[in-house]
Amino acid sequence: MWRMSVDLPFPYDGPGALREPVEAALRRVVDPELAMSIVDVGLIYGVAIDATQARVTLTMTSPACPVIEVILDDVHDELGRVLPEGTTIDTQLVWEPAWNSDRLSARARLFMGW
Protein backbone atom coordinates (compact mmCIF):
# COMPACT_ATOMS: atom_id res chain seq x y z
CA MET A 1 0.00 0.00 0.00
CA TRP A 2 1.37 3.43 -1.02
CA ARG A 3 0.64 6.55 0.92
CA MET A 4 1.77 10.00 1.96
CA SER A 5 2.52 10.24 5.65
CA VAL A 6 2.14 13.22 7.93
CA ASP A 7 2.77 11.52 11.29
CA LEU A 8 6.49 11.10 10.65
CA PRO A 9 8.98 13.85 11.59
CA PHE A 10 9.46 14.41 7.84
CA PRO A 11 7.24 14.10 4.73
CA TYR A 12 7.25 10.52 3.44
CA ASP A 13 5.93 9.35 0.10
CA GLY A 14 6.34 5.62 -0.50
CA PRO A 15 5.24 2.10 0.42
CA GLY A 16 3.70 1.88 3.88
CA ALA A 17 5.72 -1.24 4.70
CA LEU A 18 8.98 0.72 4.37
CA ARG A 19 7.88 3.70 6.43
CA GLU A 20 9.07 2.46 9.82
CA PRO A 21 12.30 0.79 8.64
CA VAL A 22 13.28 3.97 6.74
CA GLU A 23 12.62 6.17 9.76
CA ALA A 24 14.59 3.78 12.01
CA ALA A 25 17.47 3.74 9.49
CA LEU A 26 17.65 7.52 9.38
CA ARG A 27 17.49 7.69 13.18
CA ARG A 28 20.65 5.55 13.28
CA VAL A 29 22.56 8.36 11.51
CA VAL A 30 23.88 10.43 14.37
CA ASP A 31 25.50 13.85 14.58
CA PRO A 32 28.61 12.86 16.55
CA GLU A 33 28.98 16.08 18.53
CA LEU A 34 25.36 16.19 19.61
CA ALA A 35 24.82 12.45 20.15
CA MET A 36 21.48 13.05 18.39
CA SER A 37 20.04 11.57 15.23
CA ILE A 38 19.77 13.72 12.12
CA VAL A 39 16.01 13.16 12.35
CA ASP A 40 15.90 14.80 15.80
CA VAL A 41 18.11 17.67 14.63
CA GLY A 42 15.58 18.19 11.82
CA LEU A 43 17.92 17.74 8.87
CA ILE A 44 15.58 15.48 6.85
CA TYR A 45 13.28 17.49 4.59
CA GLY A 46 11.60 14.49 2.97
CA VAL A 47 11.80 10.92 1.67
CA ALA A 48 10.23 9.69 -1.56
CA ILE A 49 10.45 6.04 -2.59
CA ASP A 50 9.20 4.42 -5.79
CA ALA A 51 9.80 0.99 -7.34
CA THR A 52 13.40 1.72 -8.29
CA GLN A 53 14.62 4.71 -6.33
CA ALA A 54 14.68 6.26 -2.86
CA ARG A 55 15.24 9.98 -2.77
CA VAL A 56 16.18 11.66 0.52
CA THR A 57 16.13 15.45 0.62
CA LEU A 58 18.14 16.83 3.50
CA THR A 59 20.06 19.85 4.69
CA MET A 60 22.89 20.61 7.14
CA THR A 61 23.12 23.23 9.87
CA SER A 62 26.08 24.82 8.06
CA PRO A 63 27.36 24.92 4.47
CA ALA A 64 30.91 25.04 5.89
CA CYS A 65 30.56 21.75 7.78
CA PRO A 66 33.18 19.19 6.67
CA VAL A 67 31.11 16.29 8.04
CA ILE A 68 28.52 16.66 5.26
CA GLU A 69 30.01 13.83 3.19
CA VAL A 70 30.26 11.49 6.21
CA ILE A 71 26.58 12.05 7.05
CA LEU A 72 25.54 11.51 3.42
CA ASP A 73 27.57 8.26 3.35
CA ASP A 74 25.93 7.12 6.60
CA VAL A 75 22.44 7.87 5.19
CA HIS A 76 23.36 5.82 2.13
CA ASP A 77 24.67 2.90 4.21
CA GLU A 78 21.76 2.79 6.66
CA LEU A 79 19.08 3.04 3.97
CA GLY A 80 20.89 0.38 1.94
CA ARG A 81 20.30 -2.06 4.80
CA VAL A 82 16.52 -1.66 4.85
CA LEU A 83 15.53 -0.97 1.25
CA PRO A 84 14.82 -3.79 -1.23
CA GLU A 85 17.88 -4.92 -3.18
CA GLY A 86 18.37 -2.96 -6.38
CA THR A 87 16.82 0.27 -5.07
CA THR A 88 19.05 3.19 -5.95
CA ILE A 89 19.55 5.77 -3.19
CA ASP A 90 19.70 9.42 -4.16
CA THR A 91 20.63 11.94 -1.45
CA GLN A 92 19.74 15.51 -2.37
CA LEU A 93 21.55 18.09 -0.24
CA VAL A 94 19.67 21.41 -0.28
CA TRP A 95 20.31 24.80 1.35
CA GLU A 96 16.82 26.24 0.81
CA PRO A 97 14.90 26.49 3.04
CA ALA A 98 17.75 27.07 5.50
CA TRP A 99 17.76 24.97 8.68
CA ASN A 100 16.59 26.73 11.82
CA SER A 101 15.96 25.69 15.42
CA ASP A 102 12.18 25.30 14.84
CA ARG A 103 13.12 22.02 13.12
CA LEU A 104 14.47 20.44 16.34
CA SER A 105 12.35 17.56 17.63
CA ALA A 106 10.73 17.65 21.08
CA ARG A 107 13.41 15.21 22.30
CA ALA A 108 16.22 17.43 20.96
CA ARG A 109 14.68 20.54 22.49
CA LEU A 110 14.42 18.85 25.86
CA PHE A 111 18.09 17.78 25.75
CA MET A 112 19.20 21.27 24.68
CA GLY A 113 17.26 22.92 27.52
CA TRP A 114 14.55 24.72 25.52
Partner: protein, 356 residues
Protein backbone atom coordinates in the same frame (compact mmCIF):
# COMPACT_ATOMS: atom_id res chain seq x y z
CA UNK B 1 35.02 14.27 -2.06
CA UNK B 2 38.10 13.32 -0.02
CA UNK B 3 41.37 15.24 0.13
CA UNK B 4 44.28 13.92 -2.00
CA UNK B 5 46.76 12.19 0.39
CA UNK B 6 49.52 14.69 -0.44
CA UNK B 7 47.64 17.52 1.27
CA UNK B 8 47.41 16.08 4.81
CA UNK B 9 51.04 14.95 4.35
CA UNK B 10 52.14 18.55 3.66
CA UNK B 11 50.27 19.77 6.75
CA UNK B 12 51.91 17.06 8.88
CA UNK B 13 55.35 18.04 7.50
CA UNK B 14 54.72 21.63 8.63
CA UNK B 15 53.59 20.32 12.04
CA UNK B 16 56.76 18.25 12.46
CA UNK B 17 58.94 21.19 11.41
CA UNK B 18 57.01 23.49 13.74
CA UNK B 19 57.31 21.12 16.71
CA UNK B 20 61.05 20.61 16.08
CA UNK B 21 61.48 24.39 15.89
CA UNK B 22 59.50 24.90 19.10
CA UNK B 23 61.65 22.37 20.96
CA UNK B 24 64.83 23.98 19.58
CA UNK B 25 63.65 27.31 21.01
CA UNK B 26 63.60 25.60 24.41
CA UNK B 27 67.13 24.25 23.85
CA UNK B 28 66.00 20.73 22.93
CA UNK B 29 67.23 19.18 19.69
CA UNK B 30 66.03 15.55 19.57
CA UNK B 31 65.64 15.81 15.78
CA UNK B 32 69.35 16.56 15.21
CA UNK B 33 70.95 19.79 14.07
CA UNK B 34 71.11 21.74 10.84
CA UNK B 35 70.27 25.04 9.19
CA UNK B 36 66.68 23.91 8.75
CA UNK B 37 66.28 23.64 12.53
CA UNK B 38 67.35 27.27 13.00
CA UNK B 39 64.76 28.31 10.42
CA UNK B 40 62.11 26.07 12.03
CA UNK B 41 62.82 27.72 15.40
CA UNK B 42 62.63 31.22 13.93
CA UNK B 43 59.44 30.44 11.97
CA UNK B 44 57.74 28.22 14.58
CA UNK B 45 54.55 30.36 14.59
CA UNK B 46 54.26 30.47 10.79
CA UNK B 47 54.74 26.70 10.52
CA UNK B 48 52.26 25.83 13.28
CA UNK B 49 49.52 28.34 12.39
CA UNK B 50 49.72 28.69 8.60
CA UNK B 51 51.55 25.52 7.55
CA UNK B 52 49.63 23.12 9.81
CA UNK B 53 46.45 24.61 11.31
CA UNK B 54 45.69 26.86 8.30
CA UNK B 55 46.10 23.86 6.00
CA UNK B 56 43.83 21.70 8.16
CA UNK B 57 41.12 24.40 8.25
CA UNK B 58 41.46 24.88 4.48
CA UNK B 59 41.15 21.11 3.98
CA UNK B 60 37.97 21.05 6.10
CA UNK B 61 36.46 23.85 4.07
CA UNK B 62 37.45 22.30 0.71
CA UNK B 63 35.80 19.02 1.72
CA UNK B 64 32.65 20.94 2.75
CA UNK B 65 32.59 22.95 -0.49
CA UNK B 66 33.12 19.83 -2.65
CA UNK B 67 34.87 21.83 -5.38
CA UNK B 68 38.23 20.58 -6.60
CA UNK B 69 39.89 24.01 -6.94
CA UNK B 70 39.42 24.64 -3.19
CA UNK B 71 42.06 21.97 -2.47
CA UNK B 72 44.64 24.37 -3.98
CA UNK B 73 44.52 26.34 -0.70
CA UNK B 74 45.97 23.62 1.58
CA UNK B 75 48.41 22.78 -1.24
CA UNK B 76 49.63 26.39 -1.22
CA UNK B 77 49.76 26.75 2.58
CA UNK B 78 51.42 23.35 3.07
CA UNK B 79 53.85 24.13 0.22
CA UNK B 80 54.60 27.48 1.88
CA UNK B 81 55.61 25.61 5.03
CA UNK B 82 58.07 23.44 3.08
CA UNK B 83 59.57 26.48 1.33
CA UNK B 84 60.04 28.23 4.68
CA UNK B 85 61.80 25.17 6.10
CA UNK B 86 63.98 24.97 2.99
CA UNK B 87 65.15 28.56 3.53
CA UNK B 88 63.16 30.25 0.76
CA UNK B 89 61.45 32.73 3.04
CA UNK B 90 60.23 35.18 0.40
CA UNK B 91 58.82 32.46 -1.84
CA UNK B 92 57.21 30.75 1.17
CA UNK B 93 55.70 34.03 2.35
CA UNK B 94 54.36 34.74 -1.16
CA UNK B 95 52.80 31.28 -1.31
CA UNK B 96 51.28 31.96 2.12
CA UNK B 97 49.63 35.14 0.80
CA UNK B 98 48.32 33.17 -2.21
CA UNK B 99 46.89 30.51 0.16
CA UNK B 100 45.11 33.13 2.26
CA UNK B 101 43.74 34.81 -0.88
CA UNK B 102 42.48 31.45 -2.11
CA UNK B 103 40.86 30.86 1.28
CA UNK B 104 39.00 34.17 0.98
CA UNK B 105 37.74 32.86 -2.38
CA UNK B 106 36.59 29.61 -0.76
CA UNK B 107 34.65 31.63 1.82
CA UNK B 108 33.03 33.69 -0.94
CA UNK B 109 31.67 30.41 -2.34
CA UNK B 110 30.39 29.37 1.11
CA UNK B 111 28.68 32.76 1.47
CA UNK B 112 27.07 32.22 -1.92
CA UNK B 113 25.44 29.11 -0.46
CA UNK B 114 24.21 30.76 2.72
CA UNK B 115 24.80 34.20 4.20
CA UNK B 116 24.55 33.55 7.93
CA UNK B 117 26.20 35.08 11.00
CA UNK B 118 28.68 32.21 11.30
CA UNK B 119 29.56 32.10 7.58
CA UNK B 120 30.29 35.85 7.74
CA UNK B 121 32.55 35.25 10.75
CA UNK B 122 34.38 32.52 8.84
CA UNK B 123 35.03 35.07 6.11
CA UNK B 124 36.34 37.54 8.72
CA UNK B 125 38.76 34.82 9.88
CA UNK B 126 39.94 34.28 6.29
CA UNK B 127 40.58 38.02 5.91
CA UNK B 128 42.64 37.97 9.13
CA UNK B 129 44.78 35.16 7.64
CA UNK B 130 45.34 37.38 4.60
CA UNK B 131 46.28 40.44 6.70
CA UNK B 132 48.70 38.34 8.79
CA UNK B 133 50.28 36.76 5.73
CA UNK B 134 50.74 40.12 3.99
CA UNK B 135 52.35 41.46 7.18
CA UNK B 136 54.66 38.41 7.26
CA UNK B 137 55.62 38.88 3.59
CA UNK B 138 56.14 42.65 3.61
CA UNK B 139 57.25 43.04 7.24
CA UNK B 140 55.95 46.61 7.64
CA UNK B 141 57.40 48.26 10.78
CA UNK B 142 55.21 47.89 13.88
CA UNK B 143 52.90 45.25 12.35
CA UNK B 144 53.10 41.74 13.80
CA UNK B 145 51.53 38.88 11.81
CA UNK B 146 50.93 36.77 14.92
CA UNK B 147 47.79 38.47 16.35
CA UNK B 148 46.17 38.29 12.89
CA UNK B 149 47.09 34.66 12.37
CA UNK B 150 45.72 33.78 15.79
CA UNK B 151 42.60 35.77 14.87
CA UNK B 152 42.08 33.35 11.94
CA UNK B 153 41.98 30.47 14.44
CA UNK B 154 39.93 32.28 17.09
CA UNK B 155 37.33 33.61 14.63
CA UNK B 156 37.03 30.24 12.89
CA UNK B 157 36.41 28.48 16.21
CA UNK B 158 34.05 31.24 17.38
CA UNK B 159 32.09 30.97 14.11
CA UNK B 160 31.75 27.21 14.41
CA UNK B 161 30.66 27.46 18.05
CA UNK B 162 28.18 30.25 17.21
CA UNK B 163 26.66 27.94 14.61
CA UNK B 164 26.18 25.23 17.24
CA UNK B 165 24.61 27.64 19.77
CA UNK B 166 21.61 27.83 17.43
CA UNK B 167 20.61 24.48 18.88
CA UNK B 168 20.14 26.08 22.30
CA UNK B 169 17.77 28.81 23.35
CA UNK B 170 19.94 31.93 23.21
CA UNK B 171 19.82 34.59 25.87
CA UNK B 172 18.80 38.03 24.55
CA UNK B 173 21.85 39.99 23.47
CA UNK B 174 24.11 36.93 23.31
CA UNK B 175 24.86 37.30 19.60
CA UNK B 176 25.39 41.07 19.82
CA UNK B 177 27.81 40.64 22.74
CA UNK B 178 29.85 38.12 20.71
CA UNK B 179 30.15 40.58 17.82
CA UNK B 180 31.25 43.31 20.26
CA UNK B 181 33.95 41.02 21.70
CA UNK B 182 35.22 40.01 18.24
CA UNK B 183 35.26 43.63 17.08
CA UNK B 184 37.45 44.46 20.10
CA UNK B 185 39.69 41.52 19.16
CA UNK B 186 40.23 42.93 15.65
CA UNK B 187 40.84 46.46 16.95
CA UNK B 188 43.26 44.95 19.48
CA UNK B 189 45.10 43.05 16.72
CA UNK B 190 45.64 46.36 14.94
CA UNK B 191 46.50 48.68 17.80
CA UNK B 192 46.65 47.19 21.31
CA UNK B 193 47.90 43.93 22.81
CA UNK B 194 46.11 44.74 26.09
CA UNK B 195 42.79 45.07 24.25
CA UNK B 196 43.47 41.92 22.22
CA UNK B 197 44.08 39.94 25.42
CA UNK B 198 40.99 41.40 27.10
CA UNK B 199 38.91 40.37 24.07
CA UNK B 200 40.29 36.82 24.23
CA UNK B 201 39.36 36.57 27.92
CA UNK B 202 35.90 38.00 27.23
CA UNK B 203 35.42 35.46 24.43
CA UNK B 204 36.28 32.68 26.87
CA UNK B 205 33.54 33.93 29.21
CA UNK B 206 31.07 34.11 26.30
CA UNK B 207 31.87 30.57 25.17
CA UNK B 208 31.66 29.15 28.71
CA UNK B 209 28.27 30.82 29.10
CA UNK B 210 26.67 30.04 25.74
CA UNK B 211 28.29 26.96 24.20
CA UNK B 212 26.27 23.75 23.79
CA UNK B 213 29.19 21.95 25.49
CA UNK B 214 27.48 22.86 28.77
CA UNK B 215 24.69 20.51 27.67
CA UNK B 216 26.61 17.88 25.73
CA UNK B 217 29.06 17.33 28.60
CA UNK B 218 26.10 15.51 30.22
CA UNK B 219 25.86 13.16 27.23
CA UNK B 220 28.14 10.14 26.85
CA UNK B 221 30.93 8.79 24.67
CA UNK B 222 32.37 10.95 21.91
CA UNK B 223 29.88 13.75 22.48
CA UNK B 224 30.97 14.12 26.11
CA UNK B 225 34.67 13.86 25.21
CA UNK B 226 34.26 16.70 22.68
CA UNK B 227 32.51 18.83 25.31
CA UNK B 228 35.34 18.21 27.82
CA UNK B 229 37.88 19.30 25.16
CA UNK B 230 35.86 22.45 24.46
CA UNK B 231 35.34 23.46 28.09
CA UNK B 232 39.00 22.83 28.98
CA UNK B 233 40.04 24.85 25.93
CA UNK B 234 37.87 27.79 27.02
CA UNK B 235 39.67 27.81 30.38
CA UNK B 236 43.01 28.12 28.59
CA UNK B 237 41.57 30.83 26.34
CA UNK B 238 40.84 32.89 29.46
CA UNK B 239 44.40 32.30 30.73
CA UNK B 240 45.79 33.25 27.31
CA UNK B 241 43.79 36.48 27.27
CA UNK B 242 45.03 37.56 30.69
CA UNK B 243 48.63 36.60 29.86
CA UNK B 244 48.45 38.39 26.48
CA UNK B 245 47.28 41.62 28.14
CA UNK B 246 49.88 41.29 30.90
CA UNK B 247 52.64 40.74 28.31
CA UNK B 248 51.68 43.90 26.47
CA UNK B 249 51.91 45.74 29.82
CA UNK B 250 55.48 44.52 30.30
CA UNK B 251 55.08 41.27 32.27
CA UNK B 252 57.32 38.39 31.06
CA UNK B 253 54.38 36.13 30.07
CA UNK B 254 54.75 35.89 26.28
CA UNK B 255 55.40 32.13 26.29
CA UNK B 256 52.36 31.60 28.53
CA UNK B 257 50.13 33.77 26.32
CA UNK B 258 51.14 32.14 23.04
CA UNK B 259 50.98 28.55 24.29
CA UNK B 260 47.86 28.84 26.45
CA UNK B 261 46.23 30.09 23.23
CA UNK B 262 47.93 27.86 20.65
CA UNK B 263 48.16 24.63 22.63
CA UNK B 264 45.62 25.00 25.46
CA UNK B 265 42.80 26.49 23.41
CA UNK B 266 43.41 25.61 19.76
CA UNK B 267 44.90 22.11 20.18
CA UNK B 268 42.13 21.21 22.65
CA UNK B 269 39.73 22.02 19.80
CA UNK B 270 41.85 19.94 17.41
CA UNK B 271 41.85 16.96 19.81
CA UNK B 272 38.10 17.30 20.34
CA UNK B 273 37.19 17.47 16.68
CA UNK B 274 39.78 15.14 15.13
CA UNK B 275 37.64 12.00 15.67
CA UNK B 276 34.92 13.68 13.57
CA UNK B 277 37.05 15.61 11.09
CA UNK B 278 39.58 12.94 10.21
CA UNK B 279 36.97 10.60 8.70
CA UNK B 280 35.66 13.57 6.71
CA UNK B 281 38.94 14.81 5.22
CA UNK B 282 41.00 11.63 5.03
CA UNK B 283 38.32 8.94 4.84
CA UNK B 284 39.84 7.24 7.91
CA UNK B 285 37.15 5.97 10.29
CA UNK B 286 37.96 5.82 13.99
CA UNK B 287 36.74 3.71 16.89
CA UNK B 288 36.17 6.13 19.75
CA UNK B 289 37.15 5.00 23.26
CA UNK B 290 38.03 6.47 26.63
CA UNK B 291 41.72 6.25 25.69
CA UNK B 292 41.20 9.60 23.91
CA UNK B 293 41.21 11.27 27.34
CA UNK B 294 44.88 10.26 27.95
CA UNK B 295 46.55 12.65 25.46
CA UNK B 296 44.05 15.36 26.38
CA UNK B 297 44.94 15.06 30.06
CA UNK B 298 48.66 15.04 29.21
CA UNK B 299 48.26 18.17 27.06
CA UNK B 300 46.60 20.08 29.90
CA UNK B 301 48.97 18.84 32.61
CA UNK B 302 52.07 19.52 30.48
CA UNK B 303 50.83 23.03 29.80
CA UNK B 304 50.43 23.56 33.54
CA UNK B 305 54.06 22.41 34.00
CA UNK B 306 55.21 24.76 31.25
CA UNK B 307 53.31 27.79 32.54
CA UNK B 308 53.50 27.51 36.33
CA UNK B 309 56.80 25.93 37.49
CA UNK B 310 58.18 26.57 33.99
CA UNK B 311 57.82 30.30 34.59
CA UNK B 312 60.57 30.04 37.22
CA UNK B 313 63.29 28.71 34.93
CA UNK B 314 64.22 27.47 31.46
CA UNK B 315 64.79 23.83 32.52
CA UNK B 316 61.23 23.35 33.79
CA UNK B 317 59.84 25.27 30.84
CA UNK B 318 61.76 22.93 28.52
CA UNK B 319 60.38 19.93 30.43
CA UNK B 320 56.88 21.35 29.93
CA UNK B 321 57.59 21.78 26.20
CA UNK B 322 58.86 18.23 25.92
CA UNK B 323 55.72 16.95 27.64
CA UNK B 324 53.59 19.10 25.29
CA UNK B 325 55.25 17.25 22.40
CA UNK B 326 54.66 13.91 24.16
CA UNK B 327 50.94 14.81 24.40
CA UNK B 328 50.76 15.45 20.64
CA UNK B 329 52.67 12.23 19.90
CA UNK B 330 50.36 10.25 22.21
CA UNK B 331 47.38 11.78 20.43
CA UNK B 332 48.72 10.64 17.05
CA UNK B 333 49.23 7.12 18.46
CA UNK B 334 45.69 7.19 19.87
CA UNK B 335 44.33 8.12 16.44
CA UNK B 336 46.30 5.31 14.78
CA UNK B 337 45.06 2.79 17.37
CA UNK B 338 41.48 4.03 16.90
CA UNK B 339 41.76 3.58 13.11
CA UNK B 340 43.11 0.02 13.51
CA UNK B 341 40.41 -0.86 16.06
CA UNK B 342 37.67 0.39 13.74
CA UNK B 343 39.08 -1.69 10.89
CA UNK B 344 39.35 -4.79 13.08
CA UNK B 345 35.79 -4.32 14.35
CA UNK B 346 34.47 -3.92 10.82
CA UNK B 347 36.21 -7.12 9.71
CA UNK B 348 34.76 -9.00 12.72
CA UNK B 349 31.26 -7.77 11.89
CA UNK B 350 31.83 -8.91 8.30
CA UNK B 351 32.89 -12.39 9.48
CA UNK B 352 29.84 -12.67 11.78
CA UNK B 353 27.53 -11.61 8.93
CA UNK B 354 29.11 -14.14 6.55
CA UNK B 355 28.65 -16.93 9.14
CA UNK B 356 25.05 -15.84 9.71
Amino acid sequence: MRAPALLPALAVAALLGGVAGGLARLGLTPFGQGDWLGRAAELHGALMICGFLGSVIALERAVALKQRWAFAVPLLSGGAGLLLLAGWRDAGAALGVAAALGFVGVNVQILRRQVLAHTLLLMAGALCWLVGSVAFALQPPGMEPLPWWFALLVLTIAAERLEMTRLMRRRPGAEASLYAVLTLLLIGAAVSGALYGAALAALAVWLLRHDIARRTVRAHGLSRYMAVCLLGGYGWLAVAGLAWSATSLGWPLRDAALHALGLGFVFSMVMGHAPVILPAIAGVKLQYGRRFYAPLALLHLSLLVRLVPGHAGPALRALGGLLNTAALALFVLTLMAAALLWRARKQNVGVVRQKA
